[in-house]
């Protein structure tokens, strides 16, 4: 709604320019940065995209992202267990995670619909408590592929499963084009574009419009005959589904499947990315997702090698955490201040 560039964007753009300056000074190859930035955009972009339906429907930021992520991880595990390879393996994982995400999303929605007005904090703790619950499952799950299990004892899944012999980089390397020292992952970008397009089209349908209406003014939507609970439920399910897809894309790009406590904090960088893009609660557009993820992830990307050059590798991680939480805090305060003003 507000085309003005706000402090978080200004800050992150300034920070990015500064870091690119340092990167050039340190002679970190530009081609590598751009290629990796494109990969990271999609790698995290789908997860960020998953926040959109819930934001649009007025449910708030989905801090319960781990729920969707776990659904995706289950799909990935099934796919690895069946030893599916290449694109087949990745699409297999997506297909398997679909029904799981549907069921988990339905339950998650039932919880969030009970706590209207307090969704974000409840979602945070539902997500947090779901992780140790799933740890039980990972430690006892009846998977049979020895590549996934602890080498000693052969019981329980490993915390990190390499996907190299299955579908690591399957989508990354699809239709990869090399231009000079630039690598452009066309397949990956097309996949992301397709997902974004589907999401935009979804919000053009009647049901999508109803979702936006519920987000804008639930009372008004109810009066015009929209079943608010039903619409919110589907927004939450949709978020969970896209999050499951998101972790599939993330895992193949990363090359490893991280289980146990790995998804615990995943919601925060994603939330931060969409807020950097300029999302302001209910007014979230596709542009916010893409621009936000790109800016945020590129800062993440460049900070690593720079910190290594400075011989202080921890600094990168601390800075990332600071930026992530600083942006979320700013957004909360900014939105809160606006609400108080209108009262």
């Amino acid at each position: 709604m507000n085309p003005k560039i706000q402090i978080p964007q200004l800050f992150i753009i300034g920070f990015l320019v500064l870091m690119i300056g340092i990167a050039i000074h340190l002679e970190i190859p530009m081609g590598w940065i751009i290629s990796d930035a494109l990969v990271r955009l999609v790698m995290n972009g789908v997860l960020v995209l998953s926040l959109m339906p819930m934001l649009r429907a007025g449910v708030g930021i989905n801090f319960g992202l781990p729920i969707g992520v776990v659904a995706g991880l289950l799909g990935l595990c099934i796919s690895v267990n069946l030893r599916l390879k290449g694109i087949m393996g990745l699409s297999g994982a997506m297909v398997f995670s679909f029904p799981i995400a549907l069921v988990l999303g339905r339950g998650y929605a039932a919880i969030l619909n009970r706590v209207k007005g307090r969704e974000e904090i409840t979602a945070t703790f539902v997500g947090f408590s779901f992780i140790p619950l799933m740890n039980f499952f990972w430690a006892t799950a009846p998977f049979s592929n020895p590549g996934m299990l602890w080498p000693i004892g052969g019981k329980g899944l490993r915390p990190v499963i390499g996907l190299k012999s299955y579908f690591a980089k399957a989508l990354n390397n699809l239709w990869m084009v090399q231009v000079g020292e630039l690598k452009i992952p066309i397949g990956l970008l097309l996949f992301f574009a397709l997902l974004c397009l589907l999401m935009v089209l979804f919000f053009r349908t009647n049901f999508g419009r109803a979702m936006t209406a519920v987000g804008e003014n639930a009372q008004f939507a109810r009066l015009s005959g929209i079943d608010v609970g039903h619409v919110r439920t589907w927004a939450i399910i949709l978020s969970t589904l896209v999050a499951a897809l998101g972790i599939c894309v993330y895992a193949q790009s990363y090359g490893f499947l991280e289980l146990y406590d790995a998804p615990l904090m995943m919601a925060f960088p994603a939330a931060s990315a969409i807020l950097v893009g300029g999302s302001c609660g209910r007014h979230t557009r596709m542009g916010h997702v893409v621009v936000g993820t790109f800016l945020f992830q590129t800062t993440y990307l460049i900070s690593g090698p720079i910190a290594n050059e400075m011989m202080l590798p921890e600094v990168a991680e601390i800075f990332r955490m600071m930026i992530t939480n600083g942006i979320i805090l700013y957004a909360l305060l900014y939105e809160g201040g606006k609400n108080n003003g209108s009262v």
Binding site: R118, F125, A139, Q219, L312, I318, I328, L329, G336
Partner: protein, 357 residues
């Protein structure tokens, strides 16, 4: 309200089951629980006042804990020992926590209805700023005067700092031995003193203001209460108590994990409070004490019980974290329903509240 008595009951049952399977001796468990009680007791008390003031759980007690750690590291850096060091770190911690308490209070006044998520994020942000200062700032911008606490590369404080100067200063005071059970009377009295203090605050005029603000902002305003100020006071008191609580915690352990000691203090304290039967609208000292006993008994018993039943101690660990997070989640879900029934205003969407205001 009878509904919420279920939570402590569930904990009692879980504790009994875990005790049956863990096969630990009762004096051992009791000793452990007493230790946990004096370590974490004050921290849990810090949560009570913000809840009474209607601000929900103050997860930014982590910031109070960080203030205590800053005071401690400064005392070590300056080489202050024993009583003078104690006084110095308490004074620094309290000053700092009052300042950050005011800042947090100002932030929270902008985000009415979303205080809890904001306090979580404030806790995360403060943790990374703290890490930046002590991992990077020390040795580059700030020059340390005590090289013993520094990493060998000259930048950053060591991960683990020994508190030899302060060990056994407080917790062995007036130690009472009853059979196999050790009772550190002084520390228990100290925790009790804080409890009485918190209880006393809720009885004073300020305490009544907290309660009114917690029930209804408009009512408070018509009574001539400055809602914003009262809320800031609640957070300042909470941060201050948290700072003191964490100081006792670290001193009791006898060494400081510089970068991780503050982790999860908020989650565990909050879970303990809810385990004792507190709700998002009502918390008392009694809830805190019952909660600490139940929650920490379960915490001590569950890894061993997991080992004995499933042959895998990790499962007990997972169960512990699940209980910690799950208790908070459950309390949030149950409370929402209570609010829906009790106060019709809370069941409608934010939009209507906004229009009404």
């Amino acid at each position: 309200m009878a509904v919420f008595k279920r939570v402590p009951l569930i904990f009692v049952i879980l504790c009994c089951v875990a005790f049956y399977y863990a096969d630990m001796s009762f004096p051992f468990v009791l000793n452990q629980v007493i230790t946990r009680f004096i370590r974490d007791g004050v921290m849990v008390l810090a949560l009570i006042i913000p809840i009474r003031a209607g601000m929900g759980v103050n997860f930014s007690i982590v910031v109070g804990a960080l203030c205590a750690q800053v005071g401690l590291i400064l005392a070590l850096d300056l080489g202050l020992g024993s009583i003078s060091g104690l006084v110095f770190m308490a004074f620094t911690g309290v000053t700092l926590s009052v300042i950050v308490g005011v800042i947090i209070g100002l932030c929270l006044n902008r985000v009415k209805n979303r205080e809890m998520i904001t306090t979580i994020i404030i806790g995360f942000l403060a943790t990374s700023i703290y890490q930046l200062v002590f991992m990077v700032g020390y040795g580059t911008v700030i020059s340390p005067s005590n090289p013993e606490i520094m990493l060998s590369r000259g930048i950053g404080i060591r991960n683990m700092v020994d508190l030899e100067l302060f060990r056994n200063l407080l917790d062995t005071l007036w130690l009472l031995q009853v059979g196999k059970i050790e009772i550190p009377v002084f520390m228990i009295l100290l925790v009790a003193a804080f409890a009485v203090g918190v209880h006393y605050i809720t009885m004073t005029r300020l305490g009544k203001q907290f309660t009114v603000v917690g029930q209804d902002h408009e009512k408070a305003m018509t009574l001539g209460i400055n809602v914003g100020r009262v809320r800031i006071k609640a957070i300042v008191i909470s941060t201050l108590i948290a700072c003191m609580g964490h100081l006792f915690y670290i001193l009791n352990i006898g060494m400081l994990n510089v970068y991780t000691a503050q982790m999860n203090t908020d989650i565990f304290s909050c879970a303990a409070l809810f385990a004792g039967g507190a709700t998002l609208v009502n918390a008392r000292v009694g809830h805190a004490f019952l909660g600490i006993l139940l929650f920490h008994s379960l915490f001590i018993l569950s890894p061993q019980a997991g080992q004995n039943v499933f042959g895998n101690p990790a499962l007990g660990e997972y169960f512990r974290s699940f209980v910690a997070y799950g208790t908070i989640g459950l309390a949030l879900i149950l409370n929402a329903k209570h609010r829906d029934l009790g106060h019709p205003n809370f069941s409608v969407s934010n939009q209507v509240i906004k229009n009404k205001g």
